[in-house]
């Protein structure tokens, strides 16, 4: 976890964009391992593939086409700092009353979730509950998700359709979903 923080800080400071992209890949990998610790293997898998894989490649592609140095910002970051801290403070305030981490009795683990755990195997025949929920109970979220990718695919085509190089890479990300 501490690594995450350090890398995020480094990303913020570093001005070489190639380095930043690499760091963000590592960041995603770390994130994925955190997810594994938190029992979210599916999410970890996806994060590793998407965050560390596709995103990094996309960014590298972008950088190859643009530039790799970030310039020093001209304006003072006072306002952003304030905004960020207010938001953060609001969140800290919000967590105060949240159920403790990992509490089995916390409401999110009580209401709907047990139903899935108990019945999904019987109702859908899929042992991986995440997959079961994803494809069945909340299938329309997944349909929406595919639509999002489709939208992005169309968008990339529309934006870069004439440019050969990107046109071949980006839609692949979309194609992967189907």
């Amino acid at each position: 976890m501490a690594f995450l923080v350090i890398i995020a800080l480094a990303i913020m400071r570093l001005r070489n964009l190639f380095g930043v992209v690499m760091l963000s890949g590592i960041y995603s990998l770390l994130m994925a391992s955190v997810f594994v610790i938190l029992d979210a293997v599916d999410v970890a898998f996806t994060e590793a593939a998407v965050g560390a894989g596709i995103s990094t490649i996309l960014m590298l592609g972008t950088l190859a086409l643009t530039t790799s140095r970030e310039k020093v910002p001209m304006h003072t970051p006072l306002l952003p700092l304030v905004v960020t801290f207010v938001t953060g403070a609001m969140l800290v305030y919000g967590t105060w009353d949240m159920p403790a981490f990992g509490d089995a009795a916390a409401p999110p683990n009580q209401h709907v979730a047990p139903y899935y755990l108990e019945r999904s195997l019987a109702e859908t025949g899929v042992p991986n509950v995440v997959t079961a929920v994803l494809a069945s109970y909340r299938g329309y979220d997944t349909l929406g998700e595919l639509t999002v990718i489709f939208t992005a695919g169309i968008g990339v085509l529309l934006l870069l359709g004439r440019r050969r190089e990107k046109a071949a890479t980006k839609p692949e990300a979309g194609d992967g979903g189907s």
């Binding site: 923080v5 952003p80 800290v92 990992g102 899935y116 929920v133 992005a152 990339v156």
Partner: protein, 255 residues
């Protein structure tokens, strides 16, 4: 890159394995972690690797542009079609599944209200931790959340404060990833394991699968946004010759 012999060889050897792994993930998705989406991503990554190393023209020979576009559209249609078909078939089986109700507030819950608290907790008995004494327990209990908040603030700060368009998007990624962490943290049950039911479900404690599902969706949405944002950056770079926000603003002022 395409001139490096080592790269080419390794890639040539590696790509089939990657594809194979993708297929494995695809068809094993029901039982282990992974599934169609992850498999697709791996497959796609393999393809991009190919394109990067052997050049785009070769890649396009393997998968012509039109084919790609068609695949995208057909893919979505297939999924939607499955959804519709399923809807219709289920309806035939149990027509009463579709209910139109008058505006009573919780018909669904009342209809399905059964006690399914295996752990014996009443659903409405909510455990609230007041601000109370800041005990060690509390600190530990919320440690994860605070990490998430810190990361979120970092990402948010990068988005708002940085002028480089690519870096802004990276910031967005960090920002979003931190939110994923929040969701997953919510679903974690201490002592639980991944929610993959073995042996038809025994007395094992599982972590909450729902946030995982949500985050899977959110990750995908995130990467779609990233892709779109980056292609916008490329176009902006073409149009303005820079990806620094301040310079773009200056250029917009002048003409």
């Amino acid at each position: 890159m395409r001139h490096h012999v080592i790269l080419r060889v390794i890639a040539k050897l590696g790509i089939p394995f990657i594809v194979l792994f993708a297929l494995y993930v695809q068809f094993h998705g029901d039982f282990g972690p992974g599934g169609g989406f992850q498999a697709g991503v791996i497959f796609g990554a393999a393809f991009i690797l190919y394109a990067l190393i052997f050049g785009l023209d070769n890649a396009l020979k393997v998968a012509p542009m039109n084919l790609v576009i068609t695949f995208i559209a057909v893919g979505l249609l297939v999924f939607a079609g499955v959804g519709v078909a399923r809807q219709v078939s289920r309806l035939r089986r149990a027509r009463r599944q579709f209910r139109r109700r008058t505006a009573s507030r919780h018909p669904a819950r009342r209809a399905r209200s059964r006690d399914h608290g295996r752990r014996g907790h009443d659903r409405d008995l909510l455990h609230l931790r007041g601000p109370g004494p800041v005990a060690v327990e509390f600190l530990i209990g919320h440690y994860n959340y605070w990490i998430f908040i810190f990361l979120m603030m970092l990402g948010f700060y990068v988005v708002v404060a940085r002028g480089n368009l690519v870096k802004k998007i990276i910031g967005l990624n960090i920002f979003q990833a931190s939110v994923f962490l929040l969701y997953i943290s919510i679903g974690k049950v201490l002592g639980g394991t991944a929610p993959i039911i073995i042996d038809g479900g025994g007395p094992v404690t599982y972590s909450n699968p729902l946030p995982h599902v949500l985050i899977l969706t959110a990750i995908v949405v995130g990467v779609a946004t990233t892709a779109l944002g980056l292609s916008l950056v490329i176009r902006i770079n073409e149009a303005y010759g820079t990806i620094e926000e301040d310079e773009i603003n200056d250029m917009d002022q002048e003409p």
